[in-house]
Amino acid sequence: MNHSLSQVQDQLVALLPRLRRFARSLTRHQADADDLVQTALERALMRLEQWQAGSRLDSWMFGIIHNAWIDEIRARRRRDRVMTAQETGEHVADAASEAPIQRLSLQAAFEQLDEEQRAAVLLVLVEGLSYKEAAGVLNVPMGTLSSRIARGRENLEALLGGREGGLR
């Protein structure tokens, strides 16, 4: 590895605000989000050799956070199948069909999106990753990624109300 451990750790510290935001967008809960980031940091440091120096550290960390979140959802599902649906929002929020009359704040609207759309929208529209990078983070094909973005956008616009069109 070309980077010393402390250099990589400096970069990790600098990334923390963005990692916390990504985790927050997945969990929609601040303490859960920070637990998730902590788990991801531990995993990352345990297998730092898998990160290829020169590749994006942020994308690599987003991927680890996302995987840790999937693990967490599965663990919750096993712990309590009843609670899971409520806690993790695993119901596919068919936002368009449930669109409330009143205007939601952007964050409230975003949190109504389903898991997959939240992750894709956050990475591309908020973090500015390319479709290809985001597809790599989420380990899905490009086509899947772009359709999640498209559906996420449509649902957001519908939830935010007032914006015309965009529904499919």
Binding site: V13, P17, R21, S25, M46, L48, A75, Q107, R163
Partner: protein, 263 residues
């Protein structure tokens, strides 16, 4: 010229900004120039993107909690050498260390088997558990691979999580398809010092891809529960690396078993 929303979105998201997409980019731009409706749609996509920039802005601005700064600065938990492993084990037996130190020591003991020479893991496990043996033990060696045999092999092939008894010597945890399409299952050998691992079906065998001392749930010997959340980190990491999609549900297990765990 008609341009789909998907293409307009990709354009608005900067997907065509790279030189290799110059022709797509100029095609979209020409179309937009000649069609105010298209221009309006692109503007809508961009405006949502701009609005989203402020999403969770407060998370970016608030101070990062100390525990995360510490986690980012922590020394990585290096894979343990055989000597370390012995030390960690005796330290554990002596009851040394606070819970935090205990956690680190525990993590240091676990390490994916493929990270060490098969001979080492054989040595360690033979020495401590008489686990790996050419004959009747649950784990055998074939070249550089560890294979399930006897009771473990049988449980991996036959046991369904829906109806396994908590007293079975082998507990099966998750079953799933790996990214290469193989069926894989996590297991725990319930013994004095339980061992957990991940086995994937290959040919006629169950190849063991990860193996580590299990983390006992709760305190003392109050019974080991093979929940996957209690899987050792090394096994969890192997599961995470290999799993494609969701774990099998009860019905999925039945079907996979009926198909002989063949791809």
């Amino acid at each position: 010229m008609s341009i789909s929303d998907d293409v307009l979105m990709a354009y608005a998201d900067g997907e065509f900004d790279k030189p290799e997409f110059a022709s797509e980019r100029s095609a979209v731009e020409m179309a937009i120039a000649g069609d105010p409706e298209l221009a309006r749609r692109v503007e809508r996509f961009r405006s949502l993107r701009g609005d989203l920039g402020s999403l969770y802005a407060e998370v970016l601005e608030e101070p990062v909690p100390e525990r995360l700064l510490n986690a980012a600065r922590a020394q990585p938990r290096e894979a343990a050498s055989v000597t370390d492993l012995a030390q960690a084990r005796s330290a554990k037996k002596a009851g040394a260390g606070s819970s935090v130190a205990g956690t680190t020591a525990a993590a240091a003991k676990f390490r994916p088997w493929f990270a060490i020479a098969a001979s080492v893991i054989v040595g360690v496990l033979v020495g401590h558990y008489a686990l790996v043996s050419p004959g009747a033990g649950p784990i055998g060696v074939n070249g550089a691979s560890l294979l399930a045999q006897s009771s473990l092999r049988q449980a991996l092939g036959d046991q369904l999580t829906a109806d396994q008894s908590h007293s079975s010597a082998v507990q099966i945890g998750l079953s799933f398809r790996s990214k290469s399409g193989q069926y894989c299952r996590t297991f725990t050998l319930q013994q004095r010092e339980p061992v957990s691992g991940l086995a994937c079906h290959q040919g006629a065998d169950w190849r063991i891809d990860a193996l580590a001392l299990a983390e006992p749930a709760g305190n003392g010997d109050a019974g080991y529960r093979p929940a996957a959340s209690a899987l050792p980190a090394a096994v969890r990491a192997a599961v995470e690396d290999q799993m494609a999609g969701e774990p099998l549900d009860a019905q999925g297990e039945v079907q996979a078993k009926r198909a002989g765990w063949k791809q």
